[in-house]
């Protein structure tokens, strides 16, 4: 993927090059889709929301003034569009209980490829145990390395609230992971 800065592609789009928007979409579609999925909890709906987010961003692109990073601006749209979607559709998100998760982790075969996939699946499920906003905050913080003020902008909260929620979310997720017997990966320890 091209390493041109976002502003370059934005300028191209504003100059009439619609295909340039594809570069921005490819760059951010995973995070936008992940955020939508964490809120609407259904892949099909999340895909629809993600499409809607990029369409909205396209039509509003000329209002983007570059005060915040493009990603922050885009994720904010994604966050609020997803909330609007569940409000309109009145969907009750499904959750997995820790008991179900624990029974699964004990049947895991350590070291095997299947075991590795299951571990990843369990980590995902453990994340789903958190509140919707905690998942969003941790995703933005750990996957996107977003600063507190950026997370605060995306979610419309103060930086202090974002800091507190990261702390609590991390504590809660660590608790769930330890309960499931999931430890640090060896490759990470070596890297440290």
């Amino acid at each position: 993927m091209s390493q041109q800065p976002d502003q370059h592609w934005i300028d191209c789009v504003l100059a009439g090059d619609r295909l340039a928007y594809g570069m921005l979409v490819n760059r951010y579609k995973h995070m936008v889709f992940t955020l939508a999925l964490k809120i609407v909890r259904n892949r099909e709906d999340a895909e629809e929301v993600a499409q809607d987010v990029f369409l909205k961003a396209y039509t509003a692109l000329k209002t983007y003034k570059g005060e915040a990073r493009f990603s922050t601006w885009l994720y904010k749209i994604a966050y609020y569009r997803s909330l609007d979607y569940i409000k309109k559709n009145q969907r009750m998100p499904s959750t997995v209980t820790i008991d179900n998760l624990t029974s699964k982790v004990h049947s895991e075969t350590p070291g095997s490829a299947e075991g590795f996939d299951e571990r990843g699946e369990l980590i995902r499920k453990a994340m789903e145990q958190l509140s919707r906003d905690d998942q969003i905050i941790l995703t933005l913080h750990y996957y996107e390395d977003m600063a507190l003020n950026e997370i605060a902008t995306v979610m419309g909260i103060s930086s202090n609230t974002a800091k507190t929620r990261i702390f609590r979310g991390r504590q809660r997720l660590a608790g769930i992971l330890m309960e499931l017997g999931i430890e640090k990966s060896h490759s990470y320890e070596k890297a440290q």
């Binding site: 594809g22 889709f33 999340a46 499409q51 369409l55 571990r119 980590i123 995703t139 990966s185 990470y188």
Partner: protein
Amino acid sequence: MKKHNEKEQEDLIRSVLRETNLETPSAGFTEQLLSRIEQLPVYGYTTSYTPLISGKAWSVIFLVMISLSLFAVFGMKDVTPEWISQLRLQERLDFSLPESVRNLNLPSALLYGLLAVTIYIYYQVMRLNVIKNQQNQAV
């Protein structure tokens, strides 16, 4: 101690989350989106409005109309050229209406109706012209 715990938690979560990737939308996500975007107006592109009758054509029409009017009022007798009378158009052409048309007797209600429809069509054409101009200015 508390700091140590926090560090442990931070390390655990960073390490664990590194094992999982972000979710991936369907394979044709970008293409589907771009095809939807194609239906939206393009940035930086403005449609150039070309009127049905150009300004130049209107000037010519205006000049012709004025010339004909002036000719009809002031120059009819003096400027009749010899060659027109030589054509003997009055003898060759019959401008009188046919008998059936001359004796046509339409009811007044129908005539008023036709007049109203004509006025209505003229009004529609002018109104549509104004709306079209406004739309073009807005682009």
